[in-house]
């Protein structure tokens, strides 16, 4: 790999009949970093992964993974990549160990090395106790871990994870994310597709937002958040509290005049003005009663809405908003 990029693609296009799954995509992923490919259903994420993993030839454009062309060097490229798809591609009638041994044999690691590697990975993915059970007895989370382990059997320098956490319960999802984080720490280059925005935020060094087959924004999670502004103060006023007084009290802290929607007052907070503590002091001095005050950081949901004009099409778990808000009891 002579290039500093583990994955490079330019002008990738792919159509199925009249549907332009990819309408010219450029990607660049530095070695050892994680690119989050973020977009709603049907945005073209899976098509991009299929092209980069040699499963599908592009209509036009080119791509190189680990320095190898996805069309001309496809055969050589396959030994350099690992793929874990959204279907947890494990053979249900094989045991966990047999599944990984099978993949090892097909990477041509040899019988002994495949067995050894299977044991190592089962242990690392906390599947050693279930190693000799048929995969059909595994839970959804265990199958995903096994699938991810299969992608890592040959310790490939580049791995592709296509919506690795789809359909998992929150606990299994958290476990899987931790596992991916550890792999990344070991220097593997990862391309991860996701619809869950906090997943990209948590794992990715850079994010490419794609919609309708095009990259509509790219940058670090922070850069993307920067595009939708900074932190936002949200104050729930107490019964009978005067709105105008509250707005006047907070105006000096905000970039623009605070707005009041129902009983909730929202103000984009200017950086370095004492933040939430100063806001509480000012409201107290103005004698405005409040029920709740919170500082909300922009989420990637906000990024998505501001870039595409529509929310990312995913089911938002209950209470997700609370994860990113700093609540202050009053």
């Amino acid at each position: 790999m002579s290039s500093e990029y583990a994955i490079e693609a330019e002008g990738l296009e792919k159509s199925y009949g009249d549907v332009h799954a990819l309408a010219g995509i450029d990607l660049r992923v530095r070695r050892g970093s994680v690119l989050g490919l973020l977009g709603p259903n049907g945005a073209g994420k899976t098509t991009a992964v299929r092209i980069l993993t040699t499963l599908l030839p592009p209509d036009s454009g080119w791509a190189r993974v680990a320095g190898l062309d996805v069309v001309d060097d496809a055969a050589a490229l396959r030994s350099q990549i690992g793929l874990a798809g959204q279907y947890a591609a494990v053979d249900e009638n094989l045991t966990g160990a047999e599944n990984l041994e099978l993949v090892g044999r097909l990477y041509h690691l040899g019988k002994a090395r495949s067995k050894e590697r299977a044991r190592e990975l089962l242990e690392r993915f906390e599947l050693d106790e279930a190693a000799d059970r048929l995969a059909r007895t595994y839970s959804g989370g265990m199958r995903r871990r096994l699938d991810l382990a299969a992608a890592l059997v040959a310790a490939p320098p580049v791995i592709f994870l296509d919506e690795p956490t789809t359909g998992l319960d929150p606990r299994s999802r958290a476990n899987l994310l931790e596992t991916i984080e550890r792999r990344v720490a070991e220097g593997t280059t990862v391309l991860l597709t996701t619809q869950t925005l906090d997943e990209a935020d948590r794992l990715a060094d850079t994010i490419s937002v794609i919609d309708h087959g095009k990259v509509i924004a790219e940058g670090t999670p922070d850069q993307l958040k920067g595009r939708v502004g900074g932190e936002r103060l949200e104050v729930t006023l107490a019964e009978g509290a005067d709105r105008e007084t509250a707005i006047e009290a907070l105006a000096p802290l905000a970039d623009e005049r605070p707005a009041c929607d129902g009983g909730i007052l929202k103000a984009p907070l200017r950086h370095g003005n004492g933040g939430i503590a100063e806001a509480v002091r000012r409201l107290d001095r103005a004698d405005v009663g409040i029920d709740d005050i919170a500082l909300r950081r922009p989420t990637l949901d906000d990024v998505f809405i501001s870039l595409t004009g529509h929310a990312a099409e995913h089911e938002k778990p209950e209470g997700q908003e609370e994860d990113v808000a700093e609540e202050v009891a009053v």
């Binding site: 798809g85 279907y87 591609a89 494990v90 009638n93 099978l102 044999r105 097909l106 041509h108």
Partner: protein, 259 residues
Amino acid sequence: MSALQYAASDTLVLAKRNLSRIPRAPDLLIGYTVQPIMFVLLFVYVFGGAINVPPEFGDYTDFLMPGIVVQTMSFGGFVTAIGLSEDLRKGLIDRFRSLPMARSAVLGGRTLSDIALNLLSIVIMMGVGLLVGFTFDANVLEILAGVGILLLFGYAWSWFFATAGLTASSSESAQAIGFIVIFPLTFASSAFVPPESMPAGLQEFAEANPFSTITDAIRSLWLDTPAHSDIWMSVVWSVALIAVFAPIATSRYRKATNR
């Protein structure tokens, strides 16, 4: 290892994987062997008494067994159709296609494991056949030559089923395609009744039908009836089926996609 050795090793690794499923999900094998055994009993004891066969075949059981084994061979490919269809839907084909393995290995492994299953079912079927009164009029070499022709014919149908498995939207519809093609072909042949008893038109169809050719070839080897051109035509038919369906299945596999 050379590319060819890798291809052979990948094929064997996958064939072993396919076969390991059989004892673990035995419903497939049970369905696949019990049904032909029921057919043997049904035709020998229920229909057999009403069917007249030419005297050179001995009794109806002797006439029937080669035909029913031929039918069983053609159904052996079901395991391939179901297996490929499931692998496709579960994303395993994607995984295989992303691995640095031989491109021929998935289909090669599937069809190869069908041969092993078909051999097993020949043994079971003929065991049942001997129990219900089938008698060979053949030496060991002739019996083995018959087994060889049966396995080759079964292998040819595996490629038809590989095509069906990679084309159909589900394993159920892959099976349905198989039934629709194979049932008329086996029944409108010499496998169960002599074609001479059929009306004009159907009779000509039955005589040209490859199922008749293979069945008559097995009868000539196992019952010492006249062979005519049946034995070498059996090989021609099987090779022709492979020549048609192997390239189609291979091309479908290369483009295989689960969405």
